[in-house]
């Protein structure tokens, strides 16, 4: 007996910012610091929500629209992915493309909002963002295509539950790890984490996502933080579910396992962030092309 899907959507919407806390704790642990509290992102968002607004004279409606789109996309995206063994709220064949292109919509408005400020820095971030996302998109879709070929399903929830129902074939044992590797790289790139981007800085040399939202403040910045939290939640829960497709005997155990695997992926992001340096800007395309190649390899093996 599963819970109705809207419960897990509500849980996801409430718990998403927590993941940032986990990543930061892991990073602090590696650095031997105490680190910010686990709920820091909540405090940040609440603080921002209580502020007024300052808009640049150069900007137009586009600038004010983009934070709203990020959150709306995040909420819809949460509905398409299942958490643990629950069903997802929106599920149909090909919802993968809806998911990918909804994130595309969010990126489209974020990039335009950055260009709306007329700042050279933000233009630079926008330019890099479109370059890297262009490379991440094939990796993501082809990676999911490989899983789709393996399972014979073409919806996010369908693929994930088919993995549970035992595709423990020899092919599966090869394809799934390769896909996870590729999707993990996509997760790092799409959520602007190290080694692709550095969420803690907006110096010229490293700026991609953070610099695009340089001029956003107050509620808008709060929306943007929340939107990125939801995005991280979506990617992490897809990967968690691929890694741990097991179904437990009771819904409570299932929920516990799902949470544990989700946290494990988040910790992995933190570990990568603590142990790796950010790549040189020129190397990032190679990493992302590498991810696409991994996805293609997985697809070819799955076809066999």
């Amino acid at each position: 007996m599963n819970h109705p899907p809207y419960i897990h959507v509500a849980v996801s919407l409430a718990a998403a910012p927590f993941l940032f806390g986990v990543i930061n704790k892991v990073k602090a642990g590696f650095a031997g610091r105490k680190g910010p509290p686990l709920f820091q992102m909540y405090y940040d968002i609440v603080k921002l929500m209580r502020k007024g607004a300052v808009y640049s004279r150069t900007t137009t409606e586009m600038f004010r629209l983009s934070p709203l789109v990020s959150v709306a996309v995040g909420i819809l995206a949460v509905m398409t992915v299942p958490l643990g063994q629950t069903e997802s709220l929106i599920s149909f064949h090909g919802d993968i493309f809806l998911l990918a292109y909804l994130f595309g919509m969010a990126r489209f408005t974020t990039v335009l909002a950055a260009m709306d400020t007329g700042s050279a820095f933000e233009g630079m971030g926008a330019s890099r963002e479109v370059q890297f996302s262009m490379l991440a998109e094939p990796a993501f879709l082809v990676g999911l295509a490989a899983l789709s070929l393996l399972t014979g399903e073409s919806s996010v929830a369908g693929i994930l539950s088919a993995l549970r129902n035992g595709t423990g074939t020899a092919t599966g044992h090869v394809v799934i790890p390769i896909c996870v590797a590729s999707l993990f790289i996509v997760l790092l790139a799409e959520n602007s984490r190290i080694p692709v981007d550095d969420p803690n800085t907006h110096l010229e040399l490293t700026m991609i996502h953070e610099v695009m939202v340089l001029d956003h403040g107050g509620m808008d910045l709060g929306f943007i933080h929340y939107g990125s939290a939801l995005k991280l939640w979506v990617f992490a829960s897809i990967i968690a579910r691929i890694l741990v497709p097991v179904k437990m005997s009771s819904p409570m155990l299932d929920a516990a396992l799902a949470t544990a695997s989700l946290l494990a992926v988040t910790v992995a992001v933190g570990v990568v962030e603590s142990t790796m340096a950010r790549l040189r800007m020129l190397r990032v395309p190679q990493l992302l092309t590498g991810a696409t190649i991994l996805s293609l390899v997985a697809l070819i093996i799955a076809m066999r």
């Binding site: 004279r57 586009m62 789109v69 082809v142």
Partner: protein
């Protein structure tokens, strides 16, 4: 039937009347009126054909005349006619506003006459049921659009563009003539009796692919698009880019109904051609600085997507995989419709920008959203639609193609289908990312930020005809994006002309409609969420301080419009990545010394196919012709010698044939 013929008569009468009106002012009112009337009649007539079934009408069928004026409309024709009529009608409204400023210097009557002839000839091409009549209509279509392209014939670059177009279109016609000769080899050119000898099936396909593909803009035959489309007045660019190139797609589809069961390699050819055209088109679009040229290249890209869908459909048909066939062809037709809507919207936007600032060069623009709020917002919607972002219409067609490719390997129909699906998915994903880069750049550089020139600073909103027609198209983008489940059923009769009908297909369409319904629901949810969040933000912000200030920009004190990222710098990383294919030329004068006095950078991207393949070929042809020129000496004796030699050759040839018999 009556309505369709009435529409043609209205359009041609209109052409006559406006041609007579010449430079009189009312020509610019009469033209749009006739065009809209013709469009309304065509749309109603075509939709009635959907209800009542196909019809045929011939003026002199079976007579001894060589030219038999023979129309026939089946659902496929009706679909293309509807798209053509809707876009030409809206373009005419826009054109009425756009041409106003030319009223003193140009003969607008003639311009409208050609526009109306172009509309009528496109409709005739899409309904012609006789080979020769088809070619005549095709040629009228090409010539009338040629005269529209050279509207501003006093500019040398416009004439050059017209020249390239004229050569390209006749190159296409040459292939089509041969193809129709083969089709008519049974003795009649009527399509009703068109039978392709099985041995020549593939020859016909190749001829159609080159002939129609040149009009449609398949690489490497796309070279005329980026020349001709920017040169034409904007409403004509819109019609050419949005619907006239589709006449080429229509031609290929129509020929496929004559050739019978398609072969597998045809599908592969189209898929690979589509991938090359799509990726090439969007890469070159990304490297352009001229806004209209960018849009023309993006048409090449979208034609690539259409070809991908069709190729997928043909692979599906050839491997008897009905799901793939129906989804591929549906995606192809859906994208034909959607591309027509958003591409004309974008060309109208570019036209308004040109109208307001006198410049198409993106490096001179910027900040127009503040000055032309309507045009800017409409352009942004069009840009999002062309990037296939939900909830707008571009997503629907690409979704069907994606779904078809996914079905190709989820149902396990063998290696061919899976490979084809993989190629399609990877290509579409890459094209999607590049298109997003291309159109955030176009929208962002032109409309956002600070103006980069005084012309851009002084820009003003366009008149009501222009903004009104853009508003209609914007509404269509959104409506078609939400009406997916409805439109997929609407285009099914047209799809079935190609794929035939079976129970399996009905199931696919039923399921596809269901998925599209969920996409529409998700799209609606998205819009509601954005609105709700907006209300929440307004609610919270009321009563708090909302200030305006300069762009913060890390505390930079004196930002300047010239410090903004330019169009070239925005796309430079991507263009550099694909330098091997794009071959952009960059000339850099670096600033030197501690107090540099000057520094400059210039980039330009010429069409690789034109500069590296076609121009050298023409130079070669000119060289050979020059050699032949030496035979012309100017002495009568020598010419008589040539004649005698020719006669002798013929004589010996005849003897030889008699001898061998």
């Amino acid at each position: 039937m009556i309505l369709f013929l009435a529409a043609l008569i209205v359009l041609l009468t209109g052409a006559f009347v406006t041609a007579c009106a010449g430079r009189r002012l009312w020509a610019n009112t009469a033209g749009p009126l006739f065009s809209v009337a013709g469009s309304v009649l065509t749309v109603v007539g075509s939709l009635m054909t959907y209800e009542d079934g196909p019809w045929e009408w011939a003026l002199n069928q079976g007579g001894s005349a060589i030219l038999s004026i023979h129309f026939s409309m089946d659902p496929l024709s009706a679909f293309f006619c509807t798209v053509t009529a809707v876009i030409t009608g809206i373009a005419a409204i826009y054109g009425g506003g756009y041409l106003k400023e030319y009223a003193d210097e140009k003969n607008l009557g003639m311009a409208w006459a050609f526009f109306l002839i172009l509309s009528a000839s496109m409709l005739a091409v899409e309904t012609a049921w006789d080979g020769i009549f088809f070619l005549v209509a095709w040629e009228i279509m090409s010539l009338s659009s040629f005269f529209l392209v050279i509207f501003e014939s006093e500019k040398p670059e416009v004439l050059k563009a017209g020249w390239v177009y004229l050569v390209a279109t006749h190159f296409a016609t040459a292939f089509l003539m041969v193809m129709f000769m083969i089709l008519g080899s049974a003795g009649s050119f009527s399509f009703g009796s068109a039978a392709v000898p099985p041995a020549l099936k593939s020859v016909v396909f190749i001829l159609a692919l080159v002939g129609f593909g040149t009009k449609a803009g398949f690489s490497p035959f796309h070279v005329w698009l980026p020349e001709a489309h920017p040169a034409a007045p904007s409403h004509v660019s819109a019609v050419m880019s949005a619907v006239m190139v589709k006449a080429g797609i229509y031609g290929i589809l129509r020929i496929l109904t004559f050739t019978g069961e398609p072969l597998l390699w045809w599908g592969w050819t189209l898929v690979i051609l589509g991938a090359v055209t799509g990726i090439g088109g969007v890469l070159f679009a990304l490297a352009q600085k001229d806004l209209k040229r960018l849009l023309a290249y993006s048409t090449v890209e979208n034609i690539g997507i259409i070809a991908l869908g069709l190729g997928l459909g043909i692979v599906g048909m050839a491997t008897t995989h009905p799901v793939m066939a129906v989804l591929g062809v549906s995606g192809c037709l859906m994208h034909v419709l959607n591309h027509a809507v958003f591409k004309s919207l974008l060309f109208f936007g570019a036209g308004s920008v040109l109208h307001a600032t006198g410049s198409k060069n993106m490096e001179n623009l910027g900040g127009l959203m503040k000055r032309m709020e309507k045009t800017g917002s409409f352009f942004m919607v069009g840009a999002a639609a062309i990037c296939a972002l939900p909830p707008l219409n571009g997503f629907i067609g690409e979704f069907l193609i994606y779904l078809g490719s996914f079905k190709a390997f989820t149902v396990h129909y063998g290696t061919q289908g899976s490979l084809c699906g993989i190629l399609t998915i990877s290509t579409l994903a890459l094209i999607g990312g590049l298109a997003a880069a291309c159109f955030t750049r176009a929208g962002g550089v032109v409309f956002l930020g600070e103006p980069r020139s005084s012309e851009a600073e002084k820009a003003h909103e366009s008149n009501a005809f222009m903004t009104g027609s853009m508003a209609i198209l914007t509404a269509l983008c959104l409506a078609l994006g939400l009406a997916g489940p409805f439109t997929i059923r609407l285009i099914q009769p047209a799809v079935q002309v190609l794929t035939g009908r079976s129970h399996a297909m009905d199931t696919v369409i039923f399921e596809g409609g269901d998925y599209l319904m969920r996409i529409s629901v998700a799209g609606l949810c998205f819009l509601i969420l954005v609105l709700a969040l907006r209300l929440i933000r307004n609610r919270f912000l009321s009563g708090r301080s909302v200030e305006e200030a300069g762009t913060w920009d890390c505390g930079y004190t004196a930002p300047d419009a010239r410090m903004q990222y330019t169009a070239s710098s925005f796309s430079d990383p991507v263009v550099t990545m694909f330098q091997a294919a794009v071959r952009s030329k960059k000339q850099v004068d670096r600033p030197v010394g501690l107090f540099p006095e000057s520094g400059a950078i210039q980039t330009r991207t010429d069409d690789v196919v034109l500069t590296r393949l076609i121009s050298p070929m023409f130079v070669l042809a000119a060289g050979v012709s020059d050699r032949l020129h030496r035979m012309k000496k100017g002495y009568n004796q020598i010419y008589i010698l040539y004649i005698v030699l020719a006669l002798f050759t013929l004589l010996f040839w005849t003897f030889y044939q008699e001898y061998t018999r």
